[in-house]
Subunit: 151 residues, 2 copies
DNA sequence: GTGAGATAAGTTGATATCAACCTATATCTC
DNA sequence: GAGATATAGGTTGATATCAACTTATCTCAC
């Protein structure tokens, strides 16, 4: 009756490194974030700020919960991410008329203008990215990422 | 000669929301991080700490640059991530004998033991995850994520 | 062996991320 | 309508993330 070895071998390391979907997703997310941050830096937005502001660009300004769901982001993270955008006058958060618990998040005029400037920059970079990924079937990849985001 | 409209329509929003690989990758990364953080919480590690410590579990302790590359993580992020692990006595960082610019990052005995406890937990969760993703071809998904991480 | 350039890592400051806890408002039940 | 419950958000504290800048060390050319 020997106790199980209290340590694990290098083989386990290789298994995690090669197969862990979480690790691979974090890697991909970091690399893509850096890439789009670089692309969008001249415009003055990060990749996350761009996605967030895009989520706000709709006829009826969404409430926080909707946006957090759309971005698969914690509610409280959204609160924090809004702070710099509100500070720069790109976004406003105002209490909903019908339900005073809700906050309607809306782009300001200058937010919409900045987003309009960022959009073609994103478009060009994204087209280039898809081109480089042709061998990996971007459509399928998107589906897979979507499935992961639904967990 | 009209100026281009300074704002963009809702259609652009939908295009970004549906197609942006960066957004989809961030969504997936956040969801998976939360999931594995939950799974590993009883053990006392986050998903990132688990991956990081796994990367250290090898015959010759790696130097920081190697680990940062493996995780597709900024060098300075790695410095920050090591801090709590060193503080808990799970990891040590020591100057390399041959090249004094380098830091060898190694697991301590208790780090190896904690990792050994975390491994079967990860394994079970990862098997379950792959099962849920059968329809999305996890192998292919991993390849795609790997390609994204190489940008 | 000295100085120039390259390489490895740390520091600072800003933003992002989440859990745990808290407050305000709405809804439901009686 | 009063109290219980549910829902929407905010706050705090810890960790993660990176850019810009700095320090220490090494290597190479001479």
């Amino acid at each position: 009756m020997t106790e199980p070895a209290p340590e694990i071998g290098h083989a386990a390391t290789l298994r995690v490194r090669d197969s862990c979907l979480c690790l691979h997703a974090q890697r991909a997310a970091r690399a893509l974030a850096r890439h789009f941050d670089d692309i969008l830096r001249p415009v003055g937005l990060t990749n996350g700020q761009f996605s967030l502001m895009m989520a706000l660009n709709r006829p009826e300004p969404p409430v926080m919960g909707q946006v957090a769901d759309l971005l698969a982001m914690d509610r409280t993270t959204l609160t924090a991410c809004l702070k710099p955008l509100v500070g720069r006058g790109l976004v406003t958060a105002s209490v909903d008329d019908r339900d005073h618990r809700r906050r309607r998040i809306a782009l300001t005029r200058s937010g919409r203008q900045l987003l309009a400037a960022a959009y073609p920059v994103w478009q060009a970079a994204h087209d280039a990215l898809e081109g480089r990924l042709r061998a990996h079937d971007p459509e399928r990849l998107r589906d897979g990422l979507l499935a992961l985001g639904r967990l």
